[in-house]
Symmetry: C2
């Protein structure tokens, strides 16, 4: 069974916020007061939801959702990062997204999963059987609304990514990605630019980056090098980027005329 702490956040960056529960109690696990879904629920409701979840711990590299398999579960990530992807028989891979702590996952599925999911590092998550979560909806309609919000936000991101994959050049893809990643890390509010010289962790291999952006690792590397040469970013080490001139980055990303 899962704890309040583990359920506390159903994906932070949502387009529509639910009202906070005014007198939320502090978390049994960590003492903090959690934002997100839980604050919209009563204690009884929370208890109800908690019973529907199993806690799971995954080693790095574990593929815990398999494309094409029967879609049996939803997941809420508490710790670690997950790669979502689709593959072709000859090994080509398209990463469709990355999910970190607070992300809710499993919506892109009908009868069967449309994607695979793999732990990038040590991952802890809450697992809900689809049937039990659907049953919970009867008691907690607010949860269904929350899921709809999550799905709608996913759709916005998916359409952005289609524009990127279908119509942007390599350097535009890299620039777009860096800015989107900054938003994701909450280095800046959605739709705003980060401050000049903002520092950003980027815990992805070049291979992941390439498979997410529809490029090869060589092109990713070359594009990053070019942005560095042009003084728009700096790369102190492989997993860190300094956004020296975010404005310039944004002009490239949006193909400003």
């Amino acid at each position: 069974m899962a704890t309040l702490h583990e359920l506390s956040e159903f994906r932070r960056p949502l387009p529509i916020n639910l009202a906070n529960r005014p007198t939320a109690s502090n978390c049994d696990d960590c003492g903090a007061r959690h934002s997100g879904l839980c604050n919209a629920l009563t204690d009884d409701e929370l208890e109800f939801l908690t019973r529907a979840a199993q806690r799971v711990s995954l080693a790095p590299g574990t593929v815990f959702v398999e494309e094409g398999e029967k879609a049996s579960y939803f997941y809420n990530i508490n710790q670690g990062n997950v790669r979502l992807f689709k593959s072709l028989p000859d090994g080509r891979r398209q990463i469709t997204g990355f999910a970190g702590p607070g992300y809710f996952l499993g919506l892109a599925a009908g009868e069967n999963n449309a994607f695979s999911a793999e732990a990038m590092d040590h991952v802890k998550l809450c697992r809900f059987s689809r049937a039990s979560l659907m049953a919970v909806f009867e008691e907690l309609p607010v949860l269904e609304r929350k899921l709809l919000d999550v799905a709608m936000h996913e759709l916005v991101l998916a359409q952005q990514q289609m524009l990127l994959l279908g119509r942007k050049t390599a350097i535009e893809r890299i620039a777009s990605f860096l800015l989107a990643w900054a938003e994701r890390l909450e280095i800046c509010p959605a739709g705003r630019l980060p401050a000049p010289n903002a520092v950003m962790k980027l815990p992805l291999s070049r291979t992941d980056l390439a498979d997410y952006l529809g490029l090869t690792i060589e092109t990713v590397s070359r594009s990053l090098s070019q942005l560095k040469r042009d003084g728009i970013i700096d790369i102190p080490n492989i997993h860190e980027i300094i956004l020296t001139r975010p404005r310039a980055l944004s002009e490239i990303a949006e193909a400003a005329v």
Copy 2:
């Protein structure tokens, strides 16, 4: 105000079907008994929903959803076809989907619309203000479930498209598209192949096709010509395709090894 007929179908091809209303009355407009959402509702509920919708008629070429504008409405298409797309300032365009009769539209939006929508021919649709539809949820939770199903199905399609745009070759994109279009036209059930020599209407310009598949019109034309040369399809006229050998098409689309 909209009629039962106009509301009768909230997008046909759904991954999860709602139970039919056993004793659905026939449609006031057309006399037929409609499948889809309406059959899951009582007459009172239907009446309630009907009041929340305005009927709208659009001339070909009308852009009735503008990317970046405040997202105020959802739409349910009754007649005609719609292009959904995103653009870059220099005119590059990525079509993210096509919506025909029965399609529900407007989910890919947070505060603002993530896409634009344009009537491809004469379109009739029902328009719901977001606020009023949200209000309807209180009375008709089944509607919210339905919308979640629609959104989940959209996500499945979006991920398929990301794989196509990020990792498939031109000819694979064309082959994938033709099979997906056949499913959409219900020439074959989802996940199955059409019968050999199935005939298919394709009411899209090469430009639309190119902007949907992330290619140029020349490449679209060349790829279609090649499939024709190889005896896999036939093209009796611009807006009609014969799927001579669907199995071969599928092997190309899925990059079978």
